[in-house]
Amino acid sequence: MSLDPQLPPAAGPQVGADEWVARQAHRREYLPSWLGDAQRAGERVGWWPRLAIAGLAGALLPTLGLSGFQLQVGIDSLTIALLAVGLNIAVGWAGMLDLGYIAFFGFGAYGFALLSSAQIATTGIHLPAYLSLPIVMVTAALLGVGVGLPSRRLIGDYLAIVTLFFGEAFVEFTNNVAPSKLGGPDGIVGIDPIRAFGWQLTSNFGYYYLLVIILVVVMAVLRLVEKSRTGRAWRAVREDPLAAASMTIPVNRVKLAAFAAGAVVAALAGTIYAAQQANVFPTDFDTPILILVYAGLVLGGTGSIAGAALGALVVMIIYDGLLRSPTEAGYLFYGLIVLTLLARLRPWRRLAAVLAATVAFGFAAHAIAKAISASAVASGPQSGGWIADALRDWVIVPANPQTPGNWGFVALICLLITLVQVGNRWRTILLVPTIYLASFVWETRLVVEPSITRQLMIGAILIVMMIARPQGLLGQRRVEALT
């Protein structure tokens, strides 16, 4: 028994607590009142029923009457979700940062493209899907082992570098090597659709359903793997390779298996992608896609199958769907700000004060700017819908918004960094100009540059999620064990 006075637990990560303790701590973090009850009820639904419900929901979605664009967003989202689920094997379970993952996706796509187009030989090879898919997947597994082999000797970060170079090398390879076969920067066009036993899949509806089925099946298989001997071995290797090895786990073989399994899933996604797009280009498999997949995985929570799929779907629907139209992007942006404030700002008096101050600040700033110069508020808000009308007399949008918007962006970043560094009282005060400035930058720059805004969002997701909630939406918090 200790005679030391009882000290309050230190802030920051709990050192020495393991995964189990982290899980127990998570159990105590329910939302207040009925929300918590709903949360608990939701958690009582098992994993399999949830998968079934999600799969059914996915299958019923097109019956609501999706437009062609929305269907394409759905297909892209499902592809990225499949990739994220596969990436989770190496990154989430085995704890290896695989930055060449997207090359397996590209390998699957190119492999399928070569096997089902007029690219090789004079008439080309046109294998049916029941032959080409297994061939591509098995080769991808072998390639995964080949790339994973260095990991025998590489610890941690070195692996990240080698795989990153592998990914880059793939893009360079497809761009430069054998242009007559691989097409160089022009890629391969005219790829057959998925064909088997006399029928072929040509409509986007077909590919949507195929992807839903594949995603559900892959998730189910991975769930079984997760609970199996191999799955436990992966997590053991992640937590401590040395301890795992001393428990007779063949660490190298287990790592290779993780690589190979991830490669197979990625290659499968690649084949569907190539068949649906009917063409492949080297740039389709470059770093931005990798970062997109990582953003999905991190948002959903590394280590969780459902989290990976959900995170990727959310990221893709925002990235590909919502951020294309100024009106919807505006709803998303302001909705996120208000939701974050509602969720994070306590007590409610503080919340009310910040909201009121922000509104007042905006009108005051607008009035002052208008009094000084009419051109300072000449353009209205750039986003559409009722939000634009509501903000007309609130946010300043000068006649020539680009340069002020750029300076505003720089100032916003500085303000955000300051906001994180200062104490609580200052944070509350600084919050008001930050929100206003964010809105200013949004209306002047971000809404008119949707493609850049999407990339900024992906970067921000990676940074903010890792700092604020490293376990993601559905993942389990991991606490570093005392070493």
Binding site: V91, I155, V162, F165, Q455, G459, A460, L462, M466
Partner: protein, 305 residues
């Protein structure tokens, strides 16, 4: 033969550039054990800063101040601003994760890199910005040995690179701060117990490393002339390669690695084909990793229990 020596000179020049970027990368890795993927983007920011300073003084064609003064301002401002940016990134993005599982700061670093790149795209647009070095530094006024020319920009890069690397070496080996850096790199917790202000040392390391990247960015602008928001990625990759080939965390290793990469690139471009340059450089890296995982000058790391 003169072709060979010309390629040698070009290789050493780009090598010096890569060395500078690799140094900062390697230093950060040394103290924090973090692969700072955003390091290449700091180079890009430095290059942009240099460009806007030229614009500020009237553009390359008619400068309002003397060229040496302009160069000094470019290097100093780029070093200061990029150094500050590096420190801000460390404060904001990496410090909260210092005790997190190893993979978390890596993913954050990727996010920072992507964020910087798209911010540059937002602020400066997608068009190429051109330094037009030849308008204000006469390229012909270099040293001529036989048929081999070392033009004045190359001389500038080589001399400045050499000075900075020597200075860094003295700083790390001779000064109190350098000693503290080495202590933190060897064992952060033990260093903390011995009263070393670890946060200060890490901040100083980020400041120095990022400043070097900023200076390298201006050099790159003078040397390669064009700046765009994506240049950071490929230079960052080359610098990673340099740091890893030399032995990550080792300062002489980073210098050597930079030279190796610069020479390899130059000779492959000169003698084989420029389409395969990157492929061969990456292949080189993978071979080195397989044969000598700790790099040319790195120490083999034993895993502690």
């Amino acid at each position: 033969m003169s072709f060979f020596f010309q390629e040698l000179v070009n290789g050493i020049t780009t090598g010096a550039l890569y060395s500078l970027v690799a140094l900062g990368f390697s230093m950060v890795y040394g103290v924090l054990k973090l692969l700072n993927f955003a390091h290449g983007d700091l180079y890009m920011v430095g290059a942009y800063i240099g460009f806007f300073i030229i614009q500020f003084f009237g553009g390359a064609a008619d400068l309002s101040i003397a060229v040496p003064l302009l160069l000094v301002i470019m290097f100093v401002v780029a070093a200061g601003l990029v150094g500050g940016l590096g420190v801000a990134i460390e404060r904001f993005a990496y410090r909260p994760l210092r005790d997190a599982p190893r993979i978390a700061p890596l993913i954050t670093a990727i996010g920072v890199s992507f964020f910087l790149e798209s911010s540059a795209l937002l602020l400066f647009g997608a068009q190429f910005r051109v330094y037009n070095t030849s308008e204000f530094i006469s390229l012909s006024s270099g040293i001529r040995i036989g048929s081999v020319t070392i033009d004045s920009v190359q001389i500038l890069v080589l001399v400045l690179g050499l000075v900075l690397m020597t200075g860094l070496r003295i700083l790390v080996n001779r000064t109190r701060l350098g000693k503290q850096m080495r202590a933190v790199a060897a064992d952060r917790e033990a260093a903390e117990m011995l009263g070393i202000n670890v946060n200060f040392v890490i901040t100083a390391t980020f400041l120095l490393g990022s400043a070097l990247a900023g200076i390298a960015g201006v050099m790159g602008g003078l040397l390669f002339n064009t700046v765009t928001s994506t240049i950071g990625f490929i230079v960052g990759l080359k610098a990673f390669t340099a740091a890893v080939v030399g032995g990550i965390g080792s300062i002489p290793g980073a210098m050597l690695g930079g030279l190796v990469i610069g020479l390899a690139e130059s000779f492959v471009t000169g003698y084989i084909s420029s389409t395969f340059t990157n492929l061969i450089v990456f292949g080189l890296l993978i071979v080195v990793m397989l044969v000598r995982p700790s790099g040319l000058l790195g120490q083999a790391q034993l895993q502690k229990v």
